[in-house]
C-alpha cells in the first residue's frame, strides 16, 4: 500500500564502526575487499540474482534485481533458458507433424495451443471445420483455461504464504486431467485438435465427467472466494502491488488477464470470434485498479465464465462428423483407408505431403489462450511445410510488463508479482 512512501522515508544505513570491524575481520582471513569510491560493498545496495533455478519464478525465469535495502530499484529479466527452437522445427515439419510440438509450449493449457495452430492453418488453407468439432474444441479450450487458472491460483496463494491452498486447487486440476485423459487420450500433452477437426469424438465417459465437473466446480470456486475475498492477509500481500495503469499496459503490449486487470476489455473471443464463440454468451470481466488483486478477481471471474461457456456448449453440441470430409484437406476416415484405394492414396499423400496452402499465402490467427493472445503467423511457399512460422506468445508479452512493474516494489513482493502475471516459460522461450 505504501511502498512508495516507504521509499522516501527510509534510508537504510549500517553502523560505520560495525562495517569497519567487518572489513578488518575479512582482512584477517586474508581477503581483500575492494572499496569503490562511492559505493561500499557492504552497504545497502546490492544486485540480487534470482533464478533461473528458483522455485518461485515459475520455471526458468532469471531476474537480476538491483536492490537498495529491501526496495527494488531496477529489475531486469533474462529469458531464453527453455529455448528449443520450435519455430525453426516447424519449418522442417508438415503442419500436421508440428501439432504435437505446440503441446509443449504453454504446457499448462495445451489444448488452446493445438487449437491455435489448427485454426491458423485452416485459415491459410481455407479449410471448413464441422460444427461439432468447433464445439468440442471450445469445450477443450475452456477446460484448459480453467486448468491453467487453477494452477495460477494455487501458486499465487502459495507465493502469498498459504501452502495448503495449492493442494486444493490441484485436486480440482486432477479432475480436469482425468477429463482430458478421457477426452483426448492423454492427461497432459493432449494433441487432440487436428487440421480440419479433432482427433476423436467425445466418448460417453468423457461427456459424463465434463457434465459432473461443470456442475460441481462452481461450488468449489464459491468456497475459494469465501476464503480469499475477505481475507486481510491475502489483501495486504496483493493490494496495490505491481500496479499497471491502462495506458502503460497498452503501450507495453500486455495481453490477457493482465491487460483486463488494467481495465481494457480486450478479449479475442469477443473481438474476433473464432470457433463458435459468437454463439455463446459470456462476459469479459475487467477491473480498473491494475494491481495484483485486480488480476486475481479477473481470473477468478474468468473461470466462472468458462464454466458458463462449457455448459452452453454441452447444451448446443450438434450431431455430425468431427473432421472435414475432404481428403485433400484432412485425413480420410480409417474405414475409407482400409476399404478403398483412393482412401489409402489420400492417407499416404496427407502424411507425406500434407495440406498445401496456396503459394505466397500469409495468415495470422490468434486465439484467447489462458495467458492471453496466442497467435500463429504462417507464411506458405506452396508446399506442405510452412516457409516461416512465427508464434506470438502471451507469456513473452506479459514478461515485458513484469520488468516494468517490479521497479520500486519491495523485494518480498517479487514472487507475488510474478505469480500475478502468471508467465509460462515454455511458451515465452519457445
Amino acid at each position: 500500500m505504501s511502498t512508495k512512501k516507504l521509499k522516501d522515508k527510509v534510508k537504510p544505513t549500517f553502523f560505520k564502526e560495525h562495517q569497519e570491524k567487518l572489513y578488518q575481520a575479512l582482512e584477517d582471513k586474508h581477503t581483500t575487499v575492494e572499496i569503490m569510491k562511492d559505493k561500499d560493498p557492504l552497504g545497502t545496495e546490492m544486485i540480487l540474482n534470482m533464478g533461473p533455478q528458483h522455485p518461485a519464478t515459475h520455471g526458468v525465469l532469471r531476474l537480476a534485481l538491483q536492490l537498495n535495502g529491501e526496495i527494488i530499484e531496477k529489475a531486469k529479466l533474462d529469458v531464453g533458458y527453455l529455448h528449443r527452437g520450435v519455430e525453426k522445427i516447424a519449418e522442417n515439419k508438415t503442419y500436421q507433424e508440428f501439432m504435437p510440438y505446440t503441446d509443449r509450449m504453454d504446457y499448462l493449457s495445451p489444448y488452446s495451443n493445438n487449437v491455435a495452430l489448427c485454426t491458423a492453418v485452416e485459415k491459410i488453407a481455407n479449410v471448413e471445420v464441422p460444427e461439432r468439432a468447433h464445439y468440442i474444441r471450445m469445450i477443450g479450450c475452456e477446460l484448459a483455461r480453467i486448468s491453467s487458472h487453477l494452477l495460477w491460483l494455487g501458486t499465487l496463494v502459495m507465493d502469498a504464504g498459504a501452502v495448503s491452498f495449492f493442494i486444493w486447487t490441484f485436486r480440482e486440476r486432477e479432475k480436469l486431467y482425468d477429463i482430458f485423459d478421457q477426452l483426448t487420450g492423454h492427461r497432459f500433452t493432449v494433441s487432440h485438435a487436428r487440421i480440419g477437426g479433432v482427433a476423436n469424438d467425445i466418448t460417453d465417459t468423457a461427456m459424463a465427467m465434463i457434465k459432473d465437473f461443470a456442475n460441481d466446480f462452481p461450488q468449489e470456486l464459491k468456497d475459494w472466494h469465501g476464503l480469499l475475498d475477505r481475507n486481510r492477509i491475502f489483501f495486504d500481500r496483493n493490494e496495490g502491488v505491481g500496479v499497471l495503469k491502462t495506458e502503460e499496459a497498452l503501450n507495453k503490449g500486455a495481453c490477457g488477464p493482465t491487460l483486463r486487470g488494467s481495465g481494457y476489455a480486450y478479449d479475442i473471443r469477443k473481438f474476433a470470434p473464432y470457433a463458435r464463440y459468437d454463439e455463446v454468451e459470456f462476459e469479459v470481466p475487467t477491473r480498473l485498479e491494475g494491481d495484483n488483486l485486480a488480476r486475481y478477481y479477473v481470473r477468478m471471474e474468468e473461470m466462472h465464465e468458462s464454466i458458463r461457456i462449457i455448459q452452453q456448449c454441452l447444451d448446443k453440441l450438434p450431431k455430425g462428423p468431427i473432421r472435414t470430409d475432404n481428403a485433400k484437406q484432412a485425413y480420410p476416415s480409417k474405414d475409407e483407408v482400409y476399404y478403398s484405394m483412393e482412401g489409402m492414396i489420400h492417407d499416404f499423400m496427407m502424411t507425406d505431403t500434407g495440406i498445401c496452402p496456396p503459394e505466397g499465402a500469409e495468415a495470422y490467427h490468434a486465439v484467447e489462450a489462458a495467458k492471453g493472445e496466442l497467435g500463429y503467423f504462417i507464411q506458405s511457399d506452396g508446399t506442405g511445410h510452412p516457409w516461416r512460422l512465427k508464434i506470438k506468445a502471451p507469456s513473452f508479452a506479459n514478461l515485458q510488463i513484469l520488468e516494468f512493474i517490479l521497479d520500486g516494489e519491495m523485494v518480498a513482493d517479487t514472487v507475488v508479482i510474478i505469480g500475478g502475471v502468471d508467465p509460462v516459460m515454455g511458451e515465452c522461450d519457445k
Partner: protein
C-alpha cells in the same frame, strides 16, 4: 455477432455482486482472526474429502481404452500385420520409428518388416503412427510404465513390440467406434472391396454369390440408410 463494447476507455466490468465493498473491510474482517478460523475450518473439512491420489507402485492405474500408451505392433495369428510401408516412420514427429522391408514369396501379403524399431526415448506418444497406419498394424497400448537401464535397451525391436491382437481388443474396439468411421456415411458394404487386407485375413468373404449378384447387392446397399448416423 456480439460486438466488442467500449474498448475506447478503460472500465470495470465486475461480475462480483459485492463489487462496491470488494476492497474495504468491516471491523471484524480487519482483525482477520475470524477469517483465519474460517479457513482453518475449511482445512479441517478437507480431511473428510475422498482421496484423489493413488499410492502408485503398489496400486496400479488402469488406463481407459482411449489412453495412448506405448505403441505396439499387432500380432495376428502369430505374425505381424505390418507390411513395412514406412508411413508411420514418415508421420512420426520425433522420428522415433525405423524399419526395413523384406519380401517373402510364399506369403500372400508379400512384404514384412525385416526389422522394426521404435526408440522409446524419442517417442512422444502422440498416436500419429496409429492414426496413419493403413493396415491397423501399429496401435497404442495401455502400457505406461516403461523403464530401461541403458540407451540401447530403449530401442524396442520387433520381438518386444509384438502384442497379440486379443490383448489389444479394447483399443481396437475403441478405434472402430470413435476413430475409424466414415463421416456420417454408410461404408460397411465396402469391406468386401479389400479382401486382401491383412487385418481381415481370417474373415470369410466368400459369400458364394456370383459377380452379378454382388453388384446387385451393392446397388441395394447403396439405397439403404446407414444404421448409425453419428447417433450421439
Amino acid at each position: 455477432m456480439a460486438q466488442p463494447t467500449n474498448l475506447e476507455k478503460p472500465r470495470a466490468n465486475a461480475l462480483n455482486k459485492d463489487y462496491d465493498r470488494e476492497r474495504s473491510f468491516s471491523f471484524l474482517e480487519n482483525i482477520y482472526l475470524p477469517e483465519i478460523f474460517k479457513a482453518l475450518w475449511y482445512s479441517f473439512k478437507q480431511i473428510f474429502q475422498p482421496t484423489v491420489t493413488m499410492s502408485y507402485p503398489e496400486e496400479k492405474w488402469d488406463p481407459p481404452a482411449i489412453f495412448r500408451g506405448r505403441p505396439v505392433l499387432v500380432e495376428d495369428n502369430g505374425k505381424e500385420r505390418c507390411v513395412a510401408c514406412g508411413l508411420c516412420a514418415r508421420a512420426c514427429p520425433p522420428l522415433a520409428i525405423s524399419m526395413q522391408a523384406n519380401e517373402d514369396a510364399d506369403d500372400p501379403k508379400e512384404r514384412y518388416p525385416d526389422f522394426f524399431e521404435i526408440n522409446m526415448l524419442r517417442c512422444i506418444y502422440c498416436g500419429y503412427c496409429e492414426e496413419v497406419c493403413p493396415e491397423e498394424a501399429i496401435v497404442m497400448s495401455k502400457d505406461y510404465d516403461i523403464v530401461f537401464e541403458s540407451r540401447e535397451e530403449a530401442v524396442y525391436d520387433k520381438e518386444r513390440l509384438l502384442v497379440p491382437k486379443e490383448d489389444l481388443q479394447e483399443r481396437l474396439d475403441f478405434l472402430r467406434t470413435y476413430k475409424n468411421r466414415q463421416f456420417g456415411q454408410f461404408w460397411d458394404f465396402q469391406e468386401e472391396n479389400n479382401i486382401h487386407s491383412v487385418r481381415d485375413r481370417d474373415r470369410e468373404f466368400n459369400s458364394g454369390l456370383s459377380l452379378v449378384e454382388l453388384l446387385e447387392r451393392q446397388k441395394e446397399n447403396d439405397t439403404v440408410e446407414a444404421d448409425s448416423k453419428w447417433a450421439r
